[in-house]
Structures are given as C-alpha cells and as structure tokens.
C-alpha cells in the first residue's frame, strides 16, 4: 500500500513519519533531523563568527598513522591507550 505524504511534507518529514509508522529504532534520530531542519534559518550566529581557533584543542588533523602499511600482515599495537595512561576517562 502506498502512503500519501502530507501537504508540504519534506523528504525528512516523510522519512520521520515512515520510521515512526514502522516502529523502527532509528525513528527518534530521523525525527530529530526532521524537526531540526524546520528550525534552520530562525537562529542568528551562535558563535559570533568564532569558527576558528578552537580546533586545536587536541591534535588529530591530517595525521596518517601507519599510512602506507596497507596489505602488510604486520599487526601494530599500542596506538590507542596513551592518554588513558595518564588521565581518567570517566565522567
């Protein structure tokens, strides 16, 4: 049976509606996307143009750990866990 989209229903709204009708586990997330998209444009700049400068809080850009080792059968270990050895992860 074909479902009829509501008048003016966006693709995201439809995605949300179908997920709810089918009782799918991702319904909440899809509907959050749908609701958020309806709010776009109604807000001013949250961060007052401060888009730069915060991105270096921790490293992580443009690294290539073990790049070029594709296909090798060597298994490297120890690439995770170094931060946890000196700080608490819980919250």
């Amino acid at each position: 049976m074909l479902g009829l989209a509501g008048c003016g229903e966006s693709a995201r709204d439809r995605e949300c509606r179908l997920a709810r009708e089918q009782n799918r586990p991702d319904a909440a997330q899809l509907c959050a996307r749908s609701q958020a998209s309806s709010r776009v444009g109604s807000f001013g700049s949250w961060y007052y143009g401060r888009s730069g400068g915060y991105g270096q809080t921790y490293a992580g850009d443009n690294r290539s750990a073990f790049a070029g080792r594709s296909g090798t059968s060597t298994v490297a270990r120890g690439g995770f866990g170094s931060t946890g050895a000196r700080a608490s992860s819980g919250g």
């Binding site: 709010r39 915060y54 073990f66 080792r69 298994v75 866990g81 700080a87």
Partner: protein, 354 residues
C-alpha cells in the same frame, strides 16, 4: 555483588548511611526534563552537523568528517547521563551531558536497586526510578550489532573496568559474545582493527573518550576501518562543554537549561567556567571555587552559576540516565563541596509510589 570500587582512593564511594527521598511528582518532573533535553540534544546535534560547527565546539576539521558520517548514518547511542541540578522547588537544570563515557552506571542500575530490594528500613514498600539494567539488555538487541562485540577501556582504572564488565554482562544477557581487551592491545594491520587473537574487531564498546581516540596515533585509522564504535563518534558533539551554549542558543530560556556562552560576562550574573574537554570537576572556576587538574589552557564554556542545593551538609547532583534515547533512571552523587568530583559519594534514592 562484584562492586569492586565501593571505596575510591581509600574513601567510601558507595554510601547508604543516607538516601534521597523523592515524591512521584518529582520523579516525573525529572523524567520529563530528561526526555526534553534529549530531544533538544538531537536537534542541536543535527544543526551542528549541517552547519559545520566543529570549530566553536572545539572539534578539529580532521575529526569532523568521522562525526558527520556517524550522525548521517544514524548510528544509535547506547547510553548517556545528564547531570542535573534539582532542589525540588524549581525545574531540573542541565549542568552537563556526559554523552561519551559516562560512569556510575553499575551502582545506579544494580547496587542501589539491590539496596532497595533488600532494605527493611526506609526502603520498605518504596519504589525507585530505575529500569536501567533491563533497558541496557533490551538496547543491545536493538543496536544492529554483530553477534560479537569487543569491550575495551584503559588500564589501571578499577572503576572503568567495573563499568565495562557490567556492560559486558548486559550484552551477554542479550545474547552477544563480549570479549575484553585493553585499549593499548587493539591491533592494526593496515586495513582492520584486530584483537589479541588476530580476529577483526567488527564492533567495539570503548569506555574511552572520542577526543582521546582521535588524538592518538591510531585515530587516523578509524575512518579506514569498518569497525562500529559504541558510543558512536557523533556523541563527541554533545560531549563538548561548548554544546551547552549551542543548546542555549537554539532553545533560549528553556526551563531545563542554564544560560551558557563561549565568552565570559554574557549570562548576566555569576558564572562557572568549564574547560571544553574537562572531566570530573577539574579546572573549574566559579565564585569562591577554583579546582586544579590537567585541562588548564583549554577554551572555556561560561555557564550561569546555579549553586547546588544543600541537604544535610551535602551538595547532590542528579545523574539522569538515558538508555537508547529514553529516560530510564537516576543515580545521586553528593559531595561536601559544590563541585562534584570523581570521589563524590554515590547515595541511593527512593520514592513513594502511586
């Protein structure tokens, strides 16, 4: 009971010498607030992804693609904990969202329930806002995971290991095979993450923050592997303290939010300053309070300072648990100071049922 961290650093952590007693209406108010905050969170995450707000959130460009892909793939979340200020007089207020690596789960889901069930004093005939354990078991079945999920955390933290072992137990009860390894034991063969037996890690629950994962040398391999991560990478967005200011921007004057900004002096009153990636009350500045810790030098979030209420000389925080997107219970932490630390005591709660 397997509660190996009832004492932390030689001090009692689990404390049943006292308990918090709520009314059914108060519990309903906390549950309603939790549901509302979770809905706002998901809307704000979507807004942040579509607007590319990684810079203000303190997330590097190189990590953003991983987070965006995770959100757009709608990778489901297992769990999270809202820390709420609640005095029973006004609405619950969100202090922060532990969206990535929340702990105090075993004691909230199991130990305090056993306290209620075995109590013959004040707990007799009372109820508790707590379906955490059942919700976790149910959630594992709905995450679309393979039949084998690895579990990992850092070495040398009894609390982290206890939390991971508890979650393994809930996964096993859901029919999932749940081997454990430490974070530094995860292997990389150039294409896949591997366990100590050389088997591919298809899915992994890690009690290890995403900001650490992405900063370490194997972090660059994450987008190259097919491994499914729990919590998913998009949880780093609400885990940033800067997210609190985005919530306030998108939902100004919401009764369950406190004014929060990325710059000082904008809340119109006393403020608490928190490092964007701080944990467990470290490097906090508030009126009359300065804590130390390893997060000095980070960008700060400035939130209206709402001092915690005081009951019996203790300052309590309500930890409100969200399992698979739904409010499922609370755990109370209290401290002799207005700042909740990793050593703050866990105290059980109850409420009078209908």
């Amino acid at each position: 009971m397997g509660f190996a961290f009832a004492d932390i650093a030689g001090e009692p952590y689990w404390d049943e010498a006292a308990h918090y007693r709520f009314t059914a209406a108060e519990i309903e108010e906390i549950e309603t607030a939790t549901t509302a905050i979770e809905a706002m969170t998901r809307q704000a995450v979507d807004y942040a992804v579509r607007q590319g707000l990684n810079g203000p959130l303190g997330i590097p460009d190189g990590a953003w693609a991983i987070l965006r892909k995770s959100w757009e793939a709608q990778e489901p979340s297992l769990y999270g904990r809202l820390d709420l200020r609640y005095d029973g007089a006004g609405p619950p207020k969100l202090l922060e969202y532990n969206a990535d690596t929340p702990t105090a789960l075993f004691e909230a889901g199991v130990i305090q329930w056993e306290w209620l069930e075995s109590g013959d004093g004040p707990a007799q005939g009372m109820d508790q806002f707590n379906s955490i354990h059942e919700a976790l078991i149910q959630a594992w079945s709905n995450l679309g995971l393979p039949g084998r999920v690895h579990f990992a955390c850092a070495r040398d933290s009894e609390e982290d290991r206890g939390t991971v072992d508890y979650l393994r137990d809930t996964a096993i009860q859901a029919g999932i095979e749940a081997p454990f390894l430490h974070m530094d034991e995860i292997g990389w063969d150039g294409r896949r993450f591997l366990d100590l037996q050389g088997a591919e890690i298809a899915a992994i629950f890690k009690l290890y923050p995403w900001d650490w994962l992405l900063a370490e040398s194997f972090g660059a391999n994450i987008p190259r592997a097919a491994t499914r991560w729990i919590e998913p990478a998009w949880r780093l967005i609400p885990a940033s303290k800067a997210f609190l200011s985005l919530l306030w921007h998108l939902f100004p004057e919401h009764p369950n939010l406190l004014p929060a900004h990325l710059e000082p002096g904008k809340t119109g009153g006393p403020e608490i300053a928190k490092p964007l990636w701080g944990r467990e009350g470290a490097n906090i500045t508030a009126p009359g309070i300065v804590t130390d810790g390893p997060y000095a030098g980070q960008p700060m979030l400035y939130q209206a300072y709402a001092e915690l209420p005081v009951f019996g000389g203790r300052y309590p925080v309500v930890g409100s648990w969200i399992i698979a997107g739904e409010a499922r219970g609370i755990g109370m932490r209290e401290d002799a100071t207005p700042i909740t630390r990793d050593t703050s005591r866990f105290v059980p709660h109850l409420f009078a049922g209908e």
